[in-house]
Symmetry: C2
Subunit: 159 residues, 2 copies
């Protein structure tokens, strides 16, 4: 199984980068993980709504161009479906037993995700009603992917 | 305003400890933060349900003993109320304008939180339907407290 983590922006803080690297290493026991980091658009302080929308659209173009053709697409958005860790594990299990060998997890930019990407997603997944920093979301995401894989492998990490 | 973060267990990973320290430093601009770390009970692999319950109860005793007398108590639990970051900010604002000067945030041990602590809490707060590691929850919590304070202070962090 292949897992692609498609992410707009980069991790500047060493502590988050270290946490992500640690989970990436562990995840490689279960699947082939690829991080696809896309450059975020620079949005100035006091940008207008239409400038922000244009930036989100440009980021959307980059995401759409980066998506591998055949894959199950999971887009992270606050208004999406809430799953427990066990439900996410079960969903991933169903996807792969259904014959799909690639799962894309997509994290939009700091200002939001292009509606076209949300539309295209097979699953819109919400981690929380709360807003977290973008970089923190990336740690939270990779930890949940690892947790799901570990649950499916019968591991003890999640207990 | 005083904020106490009462936490069972400790942070072993440097990356999470660094992230917590960073937010703690920033939070001090808004309130007086105190971390109260309580020693977790050691639970062996294959412990029985009753051994686990006994450990949770012992951890509960420590939490109850550590709670400052007069305070608004917020206990984190997966089945609690889900609030957006803005709603949490509003709640904190209401607590303090209501005359309460101390807010306790309580994070239980890795195996769960004593029902007595949940019972006593003024608010049971759920961050997610997902389970995160204990240490990660501590980073997520302090980030949300900082975010809430920043929202209430009219800051730009959350934007």
């Amino acid at each position: 199984m292949k897992v692609n983590i498609i992410y707009v922006g980069n991790i500047k803080d060493k502590y988050y980068a270290d946490a992500v690297a640690e989970y990436e290493k562990r995840l490689n026991a279960y699947c082939q993980v690829t991080n696809i980091e896309l450059k975020d658009e620079q949005i100035k302080d006091g940008a207008s709504q239409s400038e922000i929308a244009a930036a989100i659209r440009k980021e959307g173009d980059k995401i759409l161009a980066a998506l591998p053709q055949r894959a199950y697409n999971i887009a992270l958005c606050v208004e999406g479906e809430m799953l427990s860790s066990e439900q996410l594990a079960e969903r991933i299990d169903r996807i792969t037993t259904g014959g799909e060998s690639t799962v894309n997890f997509i994290v939009g930019g700091a200002f939001g995700m292009d509606p076209r990407v949300k539309q295209l997603a097979d699953l819109r997944l919400s981690f929380s009603r709360m807003t977290f920093t973008h970089r923190m979301m990336r740690v939270m995401l990779i930890e949940q992917i690892y947790r799901a894989m570990n649950i499916n492998a019968g591991g003890k990490y999640h207990k």
